[in-house]
């Protein structure tokens, strides 16, 4: 049973990492638009004719 003394603190560290990653994602606009990306998948044509580079 001693393994839990390692695994459970490990799970806590993982949770902290997950939260840090989520905060990073929020900061980088990943959660501002939750509606349109769902439709992007439906586009069949590729994006190579889109001129906007940058």
């Amino acid at each position: 049973m001693n393994i839990i003394y390692v695994l459970i603190p490990l799970s806590v560290i993982l949770m902290v990492l997950a939260i840090a990653f989520f905060f990073w994602a929020v900061k980088n606009d990943q959660f501002d638009d939750l509606d349109t990306p769902a439709l992007d998948v439906l586009d069949e044509d590729d994006e190579k004719d889109r001129g906007g580079e940058g």
Partner: protein, 826 residues
């Protein structure tokens, strides 16, 4: 798809008028269209290969105007002043800029814009926020000027406006992001802590050694304490704020329960022995946060005042300089500048006319339906529309000091009358909170006498079980679902609590111009004097009126075949003259038309008549009607049957208002009223105990819309009215308003069910908790379960079948009630 019904326009979903046979090819199939505006937009969408918009969308667009938008309409937006004022430079010569778009309703709109505008050369990125209708643009002005992007948006019907950098979008975004962080931290923390708690419960059965148990306790504490302190700060702060103001809020017992449970658990973990509640606290915080997030999103979706003002002003102005006129943006104008305003243009600022004379339509500001003549030295107001003529204007007041801004401010004040409901809810909550706190205290004291070990769990159970969570969630969730249902009906909800009040409305105040009547006019009756062919008369009149921009001309626009008119001339405040096939004609006021032949003419009856005459004398009389909107009769009848008192309040002249009122059987009429008078009427009715719904469309209605208990605006109307309204009704007819009134009682029923459910739960659970039968974890589960039940119940309102029934009903009643819809106005 269910919204493509027979006889409805494929693009905007409105009924196709009789005699219109327009088809656009969408994805290879011919689809029926109701007007050229829809036809243009639909063809545009199809040509760009974006026909799938019609599959994705879940709200119908408004009917687009038939107007070719070209980049020149927005040419002033390419000026450096605009770029430096509104845009922020990014790397690689790119700029970031936000635009406020009209008519963005659903995800499909965002997709369409993304594809259609995103394909422009200089556009690196365009992201549309469906919730607030803003487009966030990253573009290179050297490669694609802003005017071209703006013209593209406008051609699809999403008219863009420059977003003032002062607007509170950044604050909204920070608020939303902060809330998301709270929720995720609480959610992840909850999973961790609950897994430890579960291990402990299982361990209790199987015999866990003391060290392991202690380890689980400590690790629970290590996770739960920071999570509770971080995610719960929203509640602690709000509770603290209410406490130092000497009030009682919902957050006070909530915070008390959280902190009490947390710190007692920490104390027990470190120094004592007994049950701990880390899992309950974290779960409690998580579910409460979910509810708060839903409320926050709904609140942020309400329109923004600031951009509303910009929407009522023109995009650019023609400033006169030493080198001639140049197009400038409004931010470049200063008091003392001279600008030129031509027919069909909106006046950019308050000022004095220094040259020319014009007919000015001030209906948006005053409600007066007939344009006024303004000459040199007259003052004109920003936001009014020049119908005819051209003038040079010397600017006196700009921006915040215009009369238009004054109306906006008045409307801000009117809004403060609104939260009466909210105040009552606050007072109720205070009582409830006081009751719960006393109850918990008493239970704790009693248990302290009986069994001190039970005192803490009982107090916690009482606090948690009586959490007004379901009570607090039940209403917003039902309203949010109903808002989705209403959107399917074509009624957009910007303030969901209005739905709760809608079924309790006792008085309805209606505006006339543009609300009950259509903004366009039409020919009601023709009296030909010499046995002339009526079609020929209409054709002549149609050709002659081409020269005029007076509203009366809109009645004849449909009959113009494009034939040649020589010496066409529109005489302000009189009529039009012209020569067709060598014969001179005059059309307009009787005295003006009579000048050709020399005989005097008198109008043949009540109403607004224009005469068509040649040198031989009178040819015909045309009666010009301002037709009622489709469904107006049905709406009024429906409201009266529902027992509501109906008022007609209009800024128009008494004779016009009375005629409409008697036609529809409305007894309570108020005419010639300024925006303040309408507001006074509504407030007087409210003071008498009435709950007033206001239906309007113009800027002059905006303050009264803000002051009414429930306000509805027509989507066709002024933007400023739309942002003030609780409900925005799309489409040309009034049938959707009837449907909204019909659906509202159902919303109220579900809200009541939810309130009853949560009250029953709280009332039954409380005694059990106080008696010590409910451990805190069960209390937390019971609280969550009750919330879940009300949420599911609320979601029923968004279901499609329910809405479809209402829509069919309203469609058939609108048809039945719309027939004899024309009536004369002067």
């Amino acid at each position: 798809m269910d919204r493509h019904q027979d006889g409805a326009c494929w693009h905007c979903g409105q009924p196709i008028p009789a005699g219109v046979d327009l088809r656009a090819h969408i994805g290879g199939e011919a689809r029926a269209m109701c007007c050229h505006g829809c036809h243009t937009v639909a063809s545009l969408i199809d040509q760009a290969g974006l026909g799938r918009y019609y599959e994705f969308r879940d709200a119908l667009p408004e009917r687009p105007e038939l107007k070719d938008t070209v980049a020149e309409d927005y040419v002033a937006w390419d000026r450096p002043a605009v770029l430096s004022h509104y845009a922020k430079p990014d790397c690689d010569g790119l700029y970031r800029l936000s635009l406020v778009l009209e008519n963005v309703h659903c995800t499909a709109c965002a997709w369409l814009i993304h594809r259609f505008v995103g394909s422009l050369k200089g556009v690196a990125e365009i992201r549309v926020d469906v919730t607030d209708g803003r487009a966030h643009l990253r573009y290179n002005p050297e490669r694609t000027p802003l005017s071209e992007i703006a013209a593209r948006l406008a051609s699809l019907g999403y008219r863009p406006h420059l977003d003032s950098p002062l607007a509170g979008t950044a604050r909204n975004q920070t608020e939303r992001r902060q809330m998301l962080k709270y929720i995720v931290v609480a959610g992840l923390g909850m999973m961790q802590v609950m897994s430890y708690a579960l291990a402990k419960y299982i361990g209790a059965w199987q015999g866990m050694d003391a060290d392991t148990e202690r380890f689980f306790l400590l690790i629970s504490m290590v996770v739960a304490v920071p999570v509770c302190l971080y995610s719960g700060q929203l509640f602690y702060k709000s509770a603290w704020r209410t406490l130092i103001q000497g009030r009682m809020g919902m957050d006070v017992p909530v915070s008390a329960a959280m902190l009490l449970a947390l710190f007692s658990s920490v104390f027990i973990t470190l120094f004592g022995s007994g049950p701990v509640y880390f899992d309950s606290v974290v779960m409690f915080i998580f579910f409460l946060l979910l509810g708060r997030y839903a409320v926050l999103v709904a609140r942020q979706n309400a329109g923004q005042l600031h951009s509303a003002l910009a929407r009522s002003l023109p995009v650019q102005a023609r400033r006169l300089t030493g080198q001639g006129p140049e197009m400038v943006s409004l931010i470049e104008l200063e008091a003392g500048d001279r600008v030129q305003v031509g027919s069909g243009e909106t006046i950019p600022a308050d000022g004095r006319i220094v040259g020319g004379s014009v007919m000015v339509d001030e209906s948006l500001l005053s409600g007066e339906s007939v344009p006024r003549r303004r000459v040199i030295d007259d003052r004109v107001l920003a936001g009014s529309l020049v119908r005819e003529g051209q003038m040079t204007l010397e600017i006196e007041e700009l921006g915040q000091s215009t009369a238009l801004s004054g109306i906006v401010r008045m409307l801000d004040q009117a809004r403060t009358y609104k939260p009466r409901m909210a105040l009552m809810a606050d007072r109720l909550a205070a009582w409830f909170v006081a009751f719960v706190l006393t109850g918990a205290g008493v239970a704790g004291l009693v248990w302290w006498q009986i069994d001190p070990a039970m005192a803490l769990p009982v107090v916690l159970a009482v606090l948690v079980v009586s959490c007004p969570c379901a009570l607090a969630l039940g209403t917003p969730v039902a309203l949010a679902a109903a808002a989705r249902g209403f959107a399917r009906l074509g009624v957009l909800i910007s303030r969901p609590d209005a739905l709760e009040i809608l079924p309790r409305i006792s008085h309805v105040v209606l505006d006339k111009t543009g609300t009950l009547t259509l903004p366009e006019m039409r020919i009601g009756q023709i009296m030909s004097s010499q046995g002339q062919d009526e079609d020929r008369l209409r054709l002549l009149a149609g050709r002659l009126e081409r020269a005029s921009r007076h509203p009366v001309a809109s009645a004849f626009a449909g009959y113009d075949d494009g034939g040649e008119v020589e010496a066409a001339d529109a005489v302000t405040a009189a009529g039009v003259a012209g020569v067709i096939d060598g014969v001179p004609y005059r059309l307009g006021k009787p005295s003006f038309a009579a000048e050709l032949s020399g005989n005097s003419l008198t109008e043949p009856g009540p109403g607004q008549w224009v005469a068509l005459a040649s040198e031989a004398g009178l040819l015909a009389w045309f009666r010009i009607d301002s037709p009622l909107r489709e469904g107006a009769t049905a709406l009024i009848e429906g409201l009266r049957e529902a027992g509501m008192e109906i008022w007609l309040a209009s800024g128009d002249r008494a004779e016009n208002v009375d005629r409409v009122a008697s036609k529809l059987g409305i007894d309570n009429v108020l005419s010639d009223c300024a925006p303040a008078d309408k507001l006074a009427l509504v407030q007087r009715l409210q003071a008498e105990g009435a709950r007033v719904a206001m239906i309007g469309d113009g800027i002059n209605d905006a303050p009264v819309l803000a002051g009414a208990d429930v306000s509805m605006a027509l989507a066709e109307g002024a933007d400023i009215a739309r942002t003030q309204a609780d409900l925005v009704v799309t489409g040309k007819g009034l049938g959707r308003i009837s449907a909204a009134f019909a659906l509202a009682p159902r919303v109220r029923r579900v809200v009541r069910q939810n309130l009853a459910l949560s009250f029953t739960y709280n009332a039954t659970a409380l005694p059990f908790a106080a008696a010590g039968f409910v451990p805190p974890w069960l209390a937390a589960i019971g609280m969550s379960a009750s919330s879940l039940v009300v949420v599911m119940n609320g979601y029923r309102l968004g279901r499609a079948e329910l809405v479809r029934g209402e829509r069919e009903k309203s469609a058939s009643s609108a048809k039945a009630g719309s027939e004899p819809a024309a009536l004369p106005t002067a």
